[in-house]
């Protein structure tokens, strides 16, 4: 009996921690709080922007939370947050929200630095994730199974990857699934035979980004539209923003805010 209660309360706590939104009117002293929640891909960049914003606007507190694109969209629809973050396009039922494109992000296909393969074609990548190519020898490397890693169903990154790379093919059931950019990167960084896809902004020397059809995922190639796996990062608002949240969005879209994003490896809207 105690076991049931223990397990279920864990499930309930998990559920609550995933769905509860903060109070919109939260005040700390005389400070005003803007709450932003949603995509875990956009979150780290929003946190950076918030840090910069709060230096110039000491009376405003920007509270940034994760939860995922869909949770962010839901929270925005319910008006439990000021701004929602999404790394995928809105579905028809969600179109009542205003979209603000804050920047563009490439999705890079990454492998372990020891992997000698430097580039693959879009077709080869979709075949790997479709389960048609399962061994590195099929791509001209050692005879070893490919440890491919995808994101979980419903993730914004996965949604964009399916749209841009897989097209009509399904991601195979035998592919491993991880629930964040961070854990995909961690596995690719430690397993020499792994392949996965993560946000370009998160690529560092621990993993190796592959060229797709001969084009490296760089800011330059995204700007010139040569690199194809690109998605917009969105801020979502439900109706007009209040006078505390509006300056933050204005800051993000300003040259200063865009420069913060560019430093993180993203591509600004003005380019």
């Amino acid at each position: 009996m105690a076991r049931i209660i223990g397990i279920l309360s864990l499930a309930v706590i998990m559920f609550l921690s995933c769905t509860n939104g903060p109070g919109k009117e939260g005040r700390r002293g005389k400070k005003h709080t803007i709450t932003i929640a949603g995509s875990t891909s956009v979150m780290p960049f929003t946190e950076k922007l918030a840090e910069h914003f709060m230096i110039d606007h000491p009376s405003t507190v920007v509270d940034v939370q994760g939860g995922g694109s869909t949770a962010g969209i839901q929270a925005c629809l319910n008006r439990t947050v000021n701004i929602g973050m999404s790394s995928r396009q809105l579905k028809d039922a969600e179109m009542v929200l205003n979209e603000i494109i804050i920047c563009y992000d490439g999705i890079s296909v990454v492998v372990h630095p020891k992997n000698p393969i430097n580039g693959l074609s879009l077709k080869e990548i979709s075949d790997i994730f479709h389960g048609k190519i399962t061994n590195w020898s099929q791509l001209g490397w050692v005879d070893r199974k490919i440890d491919a890693i995808t994101r979980e169903e419903g993730s914004g990154t996965r949604g964009s990857f399916e749209d841009l790379v897989m097209k009509s093919q399904d991601i195979d059931d035998g592919i491993m699934v991880q629930d964040s950019n961070g854990s995909v990167k961690e596995i690719v960084a430690t397993d020499p035979y792994a392949i996965g896809y993560i946000s370009l902004g998160l690529v560092d020397q621990r993993v190796k980004a592959l060229a797709i059809d001969g084009v490296m995922p760089t800011v330059k190639h995204i700007k010139s539209k040569k690199y194809k796996i690109v998605r917009p990062f969105l801020y979502l608002t439900n109706g007009a923003l209040d006078k505390y949240a509006q300056p933050f969005v204005t800051f993000v879209l300003s040259r200063e805010g865009q420069n913060v994003l560019k430093k993180e490896g993203l591509v600004g809207i003005h380019d």
């Binding site: 076991r3 279920l8 694109s69 869909t70 035998g174 491993m176 699934v177 629930d179």
Partner: protein, 287 residues
Amino acid sequence: MIKKSFTKENFVKWVLTAFALSSLLFLFLIFAFILFEGLPLFLKIGLSKIIAGFKWAPTKGSFGIFPMIVSSFLVTFGALIIGAPMGLSCAIYLSEYSGKRMKMFLKPALELLAGIPSVVYGFLGVIYIVPLVRNYLGGSGFSLLSTSIILGVMILPTIISISFDALTSVPRTYREGSFAMGATKWQTIYRVVIPSAKSGILASFILGMGRAIGETMAVIMIAGNALRIPVSILDPLRTLTGNIALELAYATGDHRLGLFSTGVVLLVIIMILNYIANFGIKRKVIK
């Protein structure tokens, strides 16, 4: 004076009763809540398409969780294969062989083992077990084997403490009778003590299974979470709990309901396991 203390006594009694019943209320609420959220999809899609369905693609209308049910049982039995012999041996040592001093040292250590958060187990699994399996046995390392090893260690405290209680509750006279017949210590343990404590030991295994099947965090971190039923112990797999925790953050509409349906199935499995375990323990008491 007497009357006053009497009302105070009554007051305490009622307060304690209320708290005791509140745990029952929580159980009921959780149960009602999960059924309320999970049942609509069973009615809409059909029980067999969910429980016996092979394809899980909730955003495309497939809600089959059969591979996850199989995977959950596979890791649970894997954990039992690793945890049960170790746990039982430890319990036998503690109850039959160890001196007082050793017991004083081992018991708190085991309680500490039970108190380690599961995310720490998962982390250790990712850092040590997964690379070991990958380098020496092959595969990605995120596998049935790694998960079973970690879960096997995680269920040790449950198995040890309950088996230990079962073994120590075997009356002294049984052992003395056996020694008087000329049996050695091991013969006594093997032929007399363990058979007498059998139902308690089985209950400890089943409660250990309940712990393993309900474990979430550590499993997500090391199981690899692939949707297919594993064909070798080096293949990745996804459990029922892992499915819920992995996808809840992003799920809406039917997808979210599908996760609650997963929860309903998990609830039923755990209830059955607990019922069996309690039944086993009760039979021992009656005997």
